[in-house]
Amino acid sequence: MAAQSDHMSQDIFPPRVRRWLFTTNHKEVGILYLVTALFFFVAAGLLALTMRTQLSVPDNNVLNEGLYNQFVTVHGLLMIFWVLSPFAFGFANYIIPLQIGARDLAFPRLNAMSYWFYLFSGVAIIMSFIFGAPDLGWTLYSPQTAFQFTPTIGLNVGAAALILITVSITMSSVNFLVTMFKMRAPGMKLRNVPVFPWAILVTIFMMLYAFPSFLAAVLLLYVDRAFGTFYFSSIQGGALLWDNVFWFFGHPEVYIVLFPAIGLIADVIPTFTRRPLYGSKYVIGSMIAAAVISFIVWGHHMFVTGIGLTSTKLYTVTTIAVSLPFDVMVIAMIETLIKARIKLKAAALFALGAIALFVIGGITGVYLASVALDHALRGTYFVVAHFHYIMVGGSIMGLIAGLYYWFPKITGRMYNETVAKIHFVVSFIGFNILYFPMFLLLDMPRRIQTYAPDTGWGPLNSLATLGGFIFGGAQVLLFLNLFLSQRRGPPSGPNPWDGWTLEWSLPSPVPAHDFDTIPTIAEDGTYRFGNGSNYPNGSAHLEHSKVGNGLSYSHLEGMSPWPIVMAFAAFLFFLGLSIGQPTSPNPVSFKPFWPLIADGAILGVISLYGYSREKFSVHEESRVESWPFREVPNVKLGIWTFLGAEVIFFGVLIGAYFFVRTNSATWPGVGELFSIRNGFAMTLVLLTSSLTAIMALASAKIGSRNGLIAGLLATFGLGASFLYIKATEWIELGTHGVFNVANGLPATSYFITTGTHGVHVVAGMCMTVYLLVNTVRGRYIKGDYHAIEHFGLYWHFVDIVWVFLFPLFYLI
């Protein structure tokens, strides 16, 4: 679909700048992601090279301990959150609509906002160095995160950055999910979708279930530091609670950063072997299986934490089991290669190299699944080598394959193939010189700033450092090649690789509107274009021909300033929450930096208003493949998907409550602290507000403006009543000195969980105000009631959460 906006800042910025700041076009957003991810790649790489310099010889002092720890932490955070996934989603943004035959993503402005949230979150993490960057490793293990061990506010800024990027990822996930289910070209059934979009789809499912857990964990970390709560600094909560909530997210996360590269390799190899991917449906099935199993292996990161024997046995089995789907994927790729005449272009070389390196990393991962071996190897450089073979060898090399593969399509120019091949050779050699010695350093602890000469680790570390500089230096070739080729490279033509997927049917670079005519895919899954030899399904095609007989649509460009403004507002708001100075050490509390918070809040309100008022129409194609959600509108599917993520988010908060309560010897009895009547009253109020929301929707459907206004006003009023009862309860508990966050875990869990719910109620009330204003203006009563329905979905969900919180906190 193409987007159209009638709101553009005509005079403030030059056209070229305006284009990149306000674009919502998926291709331009994709380019922004790619460029930004490569920038962070360089930044994280420089941190790594500095660390390698520090470790190159014993007793070195290039970096002192504190700075070294900060470098380790920020390197890890940058690579995992700001490089690997965004790099992949840069390709996903650009390529997936083309591969499935769509004109853009389902929600173009949301897509742009995802990018700007990502960018500003990256600014925040870099800024954290100013305030004393996080220095605990990317895993942020507690209780080191407690204020008494990490008194700098850099960790708060890091937490803010992580919250912002999680929001970005959630928005992207909803967007891609709706796009891929609801916007495929006619005939593009799910079985005909290429492997790369499938890999992204599986990745998105993992993101939706994993990242809310991480968001909850970071939120709890933040309130521990900012308000002196006790989730991670108590014996009942502490390190084990953090380990569980973090690694519940953390293990799926490592597959989240890997699967896009695997999908990409699965698209590249067939092109350069001129064969369909062997067993492609088994590859897709394996990805799904691995994604599911990835959620039940997290305990293998905790083998040495003292978890019970039953748990260790379970996680050993599941960890070995998760390797099996990857075997299928690798075997499928190898089978595709056997006796194939491989065109050894740079993309193919990187894809092959990625497979080889991923296999090495994967095998060493199976070693670590053994509890006995894990006890010996845990926290050593063996583990560092293992995950770098996966993350860099598998993922980064795979993504670089994608860069070479799709560079002609994105820019319309060919890069220098010779330089690219030199880049591969030097990278491959440098990578192995850098990381293979680490397998041999299996008695060297990780995350140490230096080591003594008599350990004997010096030579291997020196070798690894040499490899690091070779590998890092090789990337200069990449940047030079692509930068110069983008300006001066020879025209690539539409299909330099004779590829089979739909993007190669389009001109290079792809025009703004993508397809002149949306393609129609034949019943057997073929689509005719190009001049190669075989189709993926084996049938030959002989001629250049127009793709399909689909609908035509005129080109429109959509720009909007509100995504960047909203992202900047959120950045200011969270920065203000995180850079306040501590006011007291015990219990710790931070004084928020109110000017920034106020600026962010005001700008946020303005941008929300502007966003909602902007006439940004998005054309929906009438003929699309949308199974299995044929009858479900895009926005509704998006909202349900978002609510699914919220279920996990609140589930983790409630789970943390269960955890600390189960581990506590004593807990206030029923009615001892909380008035059951208050809880009962709040429940009735919220249930009634759901009823009034239903009545508002019914009024909207029959076109009753007064009924709609009454329903919305009643919902707002009841929401306000709920918050009033809640506030009086909080004040009474707090001012009597009986129950505040300093009183331990009962208070901690109560205030934070119900407080988070309260924030959701406030958000719902803000939506009610917006709907009321529009209703007064005459909207929603002429058949366009869907916004009321969507608000209801959210509001009833808030009600559902309270339905559980009432018995959990007031009755048990």
Binding site: G306, V632, W640
Partner: protein
């Protein structure tokens, strides 16, 4: 439906007053069961999941089942410490 939800809440409230007479395990189970039932009713009738296409309701149910299994696994693992 509103009446059923209010009635369920009333049962929860009154159960709390009888909490001392009911074995704690049953008490917690009944309360959480009632909460779950109310949540299902809100989802089915207020969020109209009952009247939505099966693909959407299946989507939600599968997600909830998976989320519940994951949470249950977590609790079992936590309890086994």
């Amino acid at each position: 439906m509103f009446a059923i939800l209010v009635g369920g809440t009333d049962i929860e409230f009154n159960l709390a007053t009888l909490q001392a007479t009911i074995p704690y395990g049953y008490y917690v189970s009944i309360l959480l069961g009632l909460a779950g039932l109310k949540a299902i009713l809100i989802a089915m009738f207020y969020q109209h999941l009952k009247y939505e296409p099966r693909s959407l309701s299946s989507w939600v149910i599968i997600g909830l089942v998976i989320a519940s299994l994951l949470m249950s696994l977590s609790f079992i693992q936590l309890h086994a410490h």
